[in-house]
Structures are given as C-alpha cells and as structure tokens.
Symmetry: C2
Subunit: 325 residues, 2 copies
C-alpha cells in the first residue's frame, strides 16, 4: 500500500513512524504547506509542497490528512477526496454530520473512499460505545478521559498574562468511575467525572494569586471543574511534563434476563504514552482498510463504523480465523 502524509506536525510524524514499521506500507512522501527544503523527516522520506500534490494522483493509494479540526480538515478533506482516497482524524464531535456530508459528496462523485474521524475518540472509543450499546441495549455508557494532556486547556492557560508555559492534565475522578462500574447508573456532568491539574510556569514577579484565580474561574474550560494549579519552574516543566500521554475508559453497564436481573459491565481502556503516535497508528490501520475497500469497488465517505474489522489487519481472513478468533 502506497501511503502519503499531508501535513507534518506531531500527528504526521506519528504516521511516518507507524508506516515505517508496517511491512505492507510504502511511504511515498510528506506534503507540507511550508517550504519543503526547510523540513527534515524522521525517516528521510521525501518532502513535497502541497502545491504539487496533483502530480501524485496515480502514485498514492491513500493520503493521510494530518491537519487540525478547527480550520484545516473542513476544507482539506473534501478538496482532497476529489483526487485521492483519504482519511482524517476530524474530532469536533458536534460538526461530524456536516463534515461527513461535504466529504461524502466529493468522494462519491470522484469514486474515492474518504474515512473521517479515525483515532481513539472519535475512533476506538466510538466503536466501543457502538458495540457495547448493541449488545446491552438496556444499559448506559460513560466515557472518561485521562489521565492525559489536553492541548486546548494548556493553550488556554498560556494565553493568560504572566504565564510563560503550562501543561493541563485531565484526570478522571476515581469515585465517579467506581460508581459507574458498580452499575449505579449515576447521572454525571463532565465536571463530575473529571478534575483538572495545571502545571504553570509564571514570569518572574507575576501575581500568582491572580493567575490561579483567572484559571479557576475561566468559563467552560475550568470554572465547572475541581481545578488544581501548581506553579513550577521551566526546568521542572521540561523534565517532568514533556510527554503527550493520554487515555481513558469507555464503560457500559447494562442488564439482561426477563426482568433485568443480571448485571454486566463492558469496559475498554487505553493508557497511552503518546497521544499523537497512538492516533497515527489507528490511522494507518484504517488506511489499510479503505485501500482494501476501494479495491473492491467501494466509494464515498465512511467512518470507523463502516469498516469490517478484518480489513484493518495485514493478515489474511484464513490467518485471522485460525489465530485470532
């Protein structure tokens, strides 16, 4: 399978690593909006300008679009689906139906496949919500995120006057998880499921009280949460908070039997050292799947819900049945 990467940030580098280690993947190149000569790839794979992408129409089986959900992907994915099989990790949950419609129109018209919103949430967590709810219709599901770095919340802190740098961890509340696992079906807001831990490097002489107060009262981001603010030095931040870990849990509890007399708990959990590299690994598996689907004549916009699991694996159906079933 010939893969190419469109956009070279943390996610793009993750796709490069995953493709490099996959025996059935050949990485054609990285496409960037920057000047190609300014960019050095991890594996030495060639770098091209996005302006030259159409020269590669017949040289790429699947193009992995590694842009941001806010402004990049809503434009990029439909435009590129006119010429390539593409996939993205569009993660603005509320805007998925609109994004799907635009991408589907472009992909269906050109006979390509476009898979949107792959990754872990949306992605593997979505799959687990779907499987669990189909099996236990009489039940309820809960998604917990963390412990992990939220880029959006870290950025929000950095915009406060007097802040040099910051890292925000979303942390699931153990008591809330325990109540869910016990089948108590609690009603929980996001703030009742999670607390927020902030590690902040302040400018010398900055008013720490004011900064802490501005964080804790920030609407949407922190005001509704149990928020802890820790001021640390730049050295500590660099030493202890360099990684981009994340993860979380999808839990569904439900009942079966004539009168709902038997309880069941289905739980899926991820503990990730690197959020972008794991997301990238999911993208490469789904790239393999849409390449197979396209070679069977399928086209249009897809999500992880539309992909038969066997298509994700480099193993043959016979090998899968013999060794994994």
């Amino acid at each position: 399978m010939k893969l190419a990467i469109y956009g070279y940030g943390n996610l793009g580098r993750g796709v490069e690593c995953a493709a490099h280690h996959a025996a059935d993947v050949e990485l054609v190149g990285v496409f960037t909006r920057r000047a190609p000569e300014t960019l050095k790839t991890l594996t030495g794979v060639p770098v091209y300008s996005v302006n030259d992408i159409l020269d590669f129409k017949d040289k790429i089986d699947v193009l992995v679009i590694c842009g941001g959900s806010a402004t990049d992907l809503p434009e990029m994915t439909p435009a590129l689906a006119e010429h390539f099989n593409v996939l993205d990790s569009f993660d603005t949950h509320a805007a998925i139906p609109t994004h799907f419609a635009k991408v589907d129109k472009a992909a269906a018209a050109s006979g390509h496949i476009a898979l949107i919103s792959a990754g872990w949430d949306p992605g593997m967590f979505s799959l687990n919500r779907l499987y669990a709810s189909a099996i236990l219709p009489d039940g309820q599901d809960y998604t917990f995120w963390g412990r992990g770095v939220s880029q959006g919340h870290s950025d929000a802190i950095r915009r406060i006057d007097g802040v040099l740098d910051a890292r925000q961890y979303t942390v699931p509340i153990p008591e809330a998880m325990a109540a869910v696992r016990a089948g108590e079906n609690p009603t929980l807001t996001t703030g009742e499921k999670h607390k927020r831990e902030c590690y902040v490097v302040a400018k010398e002489g900055a008013d720490l009280c004011r900064i802490e107060n501005e964080i804790k009262t920030m609407p949407n981001y922190f005001a509704d949460y149990d928020t802890t603010v820790n001021f640390i030095s730049m050295e500590e931040l660099m030493r202890d908070h360099r990684g981009i870990p994340h993860g979380g849990n999808v839990i569904r509890t439900g009942v079966t039997g004539m009168n709902g007399e038997h309880k069941h708990v289905i739980e899926y959990s991820l503990k990730l050292d690197s959020n972008p590299e794991f997301t990238a690994s999911v993208l490469v598996a789904f790239a393999r799947a849409i390449n197979k689907m396209h070679s069977r004549g399928d086209a249009g916009c897809k999500t992880v819900f539309d992909v038969a699991p066997a298509d994700l694996s480099p193993l043959s159906p016979e090998e899968l049945r013999a060794h994994m079933l």
Copy 2:
C-alpha cells in the same frame, strides 16, 4: 427482523430474553428435539419440533442455533445453512477453520449467510485481539478468563466417585495481569495466568482426601494449575454458587515511535453476571447484522471479523454518526 431459536437450553433461553427486549425483533418460535408439548418458554413464544423446521423456510429471517460445540453445531450449522440465514456460537477454537469451510460451502451454495463463533470468546474477545493487533503491530496480547464458572471443569469434578455436585471457578492471577499491564511482556502458560477454585459437595462418608487428590492431579484440567478445593454442603452450593458468572480481560501492550520509545496499553474487560445471557445478547446483535448483510445480497460463511459494526445497531447510520462517533 423475524428470529427463531434452535435448541432451548441456557443459551436458547438467553436469546429468548434478549429478543423479547429488542424492539426490532419478532420471535417466531423455539425449535426443540424434545417433545414440544413438554417445554414451556419464558415468554410464551410457541414451541415446535425440529422436524417441522422446513415449514418455516419463508417465515424466519435468521435462525439462532443454540447447540453444543462438541457434537451439535458441526452437524446442525451446515445442514441448516442450506435453508436459513443462521448463526452459532461454535467455540472450539482449534476446529474453527474446518467448521468454517463446511458451513461456507452450504451457505454459499444456497445464497444464505451463516455467521459462526459469535459470543464473547470467540466473539468480542476475538474482535479486541484483532483491533488491538492491527493498531499496535509491535506488541503482544494476553487473554485472561474469569473470575467465572467453567462448565467443563465443574463436570469433570462431578464425574469423580463420591462427588454429588461441584462448581469450578477459573480465576485470573492478579500478579500475572499486573506484569502484563506494566508492559513486561512476560511469557505465561495458561496455568501461570489462572488458578482454579473448586467448591465440592461430597457424599456422606466419602474420602475427602482422595477426592481432593483426584481433582488436583487430574491431567489437563487441574494438574498444571494452582488448585484450591473447598468442601461445602449442598445448601451452601445452592445458596452461594447458583449463578453462571464469567468474564475476563484482553490486554495488548505495544510500542510506537521511531525506536519503540512510547508504550501503550489497550485493555478490554467483561464482568458478566450471566455467561449464557451475555452470549445470547451478542448473538442477537450479530443476527441483526447478518439480516442486513443478506438483504444487501451478501452470502456465505462469516465471522465477527467480517461484520461492519454499524450493522449491529438498530440505529441508522445518521443516528450513529450524530450520537456515538
């Protein structure tokens, strides 16, 4: 969807309950090898003899075969796939390729769909092994079973002279699970992952030492395990060990990055009050899927690996994308 049940033991009753609670399922009837008039169903659904099954050729969308894997399913599933869309929970892992080939021949020739080996292992555990290995190819997976009742091991104890009744629990060893979750990639035999707890009711005056010794030295079943034998009264057995709980964990640890520098843990776990009712709930969800697949013209033998998750849900693709992705 018109469903029927073929075989009415614990699993068949579980399918009856799950079908009864599913808004999109109509249960046509239960087919039994016993005299139909001797059998009373939980929901009052009619009971027919298996000899009359062909009278229902156009009245059933999917037939759920609830027989045993040892002798029933290898005969029943291929024979019934000639006339119906069918699914079974065939769970003899080593014999799956042979079973698949026989069923595929019958189903493909008649234009029906037959899905084999649905349930949780094989079934949901298999799916999680496949997804996790496709995402983290540089890794290793581990399956732990329990804490739960093993019917086969309980039966083996009951065959010992002097034993009135018995219940055997398979119990995962916490230290082994901890080593796996820590990414230590230990090499573990089934006996190093699990211990066996036995609750035994002995005949009055029976030689308890001999019984305990016969259990602990029984080849394959107990000899390679840390086995505990507890003698209890029939009252205690009936009071404390009536249920059929089970569950387990599928854990894959793997690495990403240029040099495998980032670790990840993917874990799927089940805690089930009723093993047969949960298995039945999985069967009903996959029955829905193969009914949709058949209506799109698909035929032949399938496994859970071949089913796009969206087909399991009664919700429309639009609803799934809007609410579960």
